[in-house]
């Protein structure tokens, strides 16, 4: 059985859009501190991946990315939350896909000259050294959650290759402006780097105190 590693990417959307740069405005977290992950709470996350598998050397580690915006509604809200703004309009793609914590549409009424930053982020792509070297195998899945715009990213990792590998997350943020009475919805896609470190450590779980490795 593969273990699931979660990587939360928390984005200060307004600051990142204004600067057109995610560096210093995105914070990374994972649940791999026990395995030696470093840089939680910063933009310099190195996720530790234990390379020695307990079941088979062919086994892989699975990683899930969970991008969030500071101030957005929790992604775990039941789908009925989104009914309030009309799920039909969401499915038809005729409404902005962002709601605030009160399920009100973000930027529904924009004053002249006003800009709103949507509390909403999606992953557009995952590229970089780790992908090119075929260590990280990212994949995009469909998702029924309106909050994630139907996208969900996960990856499996070839744990036979030890070392530190970098990858680039491409995150899409949204904002709306009103100039001269014309409302425009904008999207901006920005990159941010992070790393995985495939170690020689052995996986443990709640059922064995010592790492259990199958005999060769």
């Amino acid at each position: 059985m593969s273990q699931q590693l979660g990587i939360v990417v928390l984005v200060d959307a307004a600051a990142a859009i204004q600067a057109k740069d995610l560096r210093g405005r995105a914070y990374f977290f994972d649940n791999g501190r026990w395995a030696g992950s470093t840089g939680q709470g910063t933009g310099h996350l190195v996720s530790a991946i234990e390379g020695t598998r307990t079941t088979s050397q062919l086994d892989v580690q699975v990683v899930n990315w969970l991008p969030l915006v500071i101030g957005g509604p929790p992604p775990t809200l039941p789908r009925t939350f989104f009914h309030r703004a009309g799920i039909g309009r969401y499915l038809a793609g005729t409404a902005p896909k962002t709601l605030d914590v009160l399920a009100n549409e973000v930027g529904a009424d924009l004053d002249e000259g006003e800009t709103v930053y949507h509390p909403h982020v999606t992953i557009a792509n995952i590229t970089g050294d780790a992908v090119n070297r075929r260590v990280l195998f990212p994949a995009q899945y469909g998702s029924p959650a309106p909050a994630s715009a139907g996208l969900y990213w996960s990856a499996s990792i070839d744990t036979n290759r030890f070392g530190v590998f970098s990858y680039t997350l491409w995150l899409t943020l949204h904002f709306s402006t009103n100039e001269n009475g014309t409302r425009t919805d904008h999207a901006i896609t920005l990159p941010h780097d992070a790393c995985i470190s495939v170690t020689r450590g052995a996986t443990t779980n709640g059922f064995c105190r010592m790492p259990a490795v199958l005999p060769a």
Binding site: A15, G41, L102, E114
Partner: protein, 157 residues
């Protein structure tokens, strides 16, 4: 004055295994001038009259976590002349039913650093509700509130 959002990321499995939130929570806000972003020692810069929203996310997809309480550690220190007191509470958030935590920094609150206790519930049972006393609100001078507000409004828009 725009609201500040404080997000707490919790490694629920590590917190329950070790029985402590120490090293297992990370706090971020989207305010300008806050310190300790990304750590449990977040000091949120805020002004009297400003609304603060708290939310909490688990770091993985399978564990629940919710805010149980937010309390100032030294409530006596916040007694301004006309201060109604600072009392964040759970607010009804929308359909079908969910609550989020919000509080307004009272207008009469003297400037200073106010540590608060964040209590999180991760499961049912004796050791599933844990708290951290590390985070604080850094309340600015009421006189400079309008200036800070203008500056942050410019930063937002």
């Amino acid at each position: 004055m725009h609201a500040i959002n404080i997000v707490t990321i919790v490694d629920v499995i590590a917190a329950l295994s070790k029985g402590t939130l120490r090293n297992n929570i990370f706090m971020i806000d989207n305010g300008a001038g806050s310190q300790g972003k990304g750590t449990a020692l977040l000091q949120t810069a805020c002004c009297p009259g400003q609304v603060i929203n708290w939310s909490v996310h688990p770091v993985d997809v399978q564990t629940p976590v919710l805010i149980r309480a937010i309390e100032l550690l030294h409530p006596a220190s916040q007694t301004g002349e006309n201060s109604p007191g600072f009392s964040p509470r759970a607010v009804f958030g929308g359909e079908p039913e969910w609550h989020y935590w919000r509080g307004m920094v009272p207008w009469g609150m003297p400037a200073g650093l106010y540590q608060y206790r964040l209590t999180l519930q991760m499961a049912k049972g004796a050791v599933s509700t844990l708290y951290a006393d590390t985070a604080a609100l850094n309340v600015c001078e009421p006189a400079s509130a309008s200036t800070a507000d203008r500056a942050s409004e410019e930063a937002r828009s």
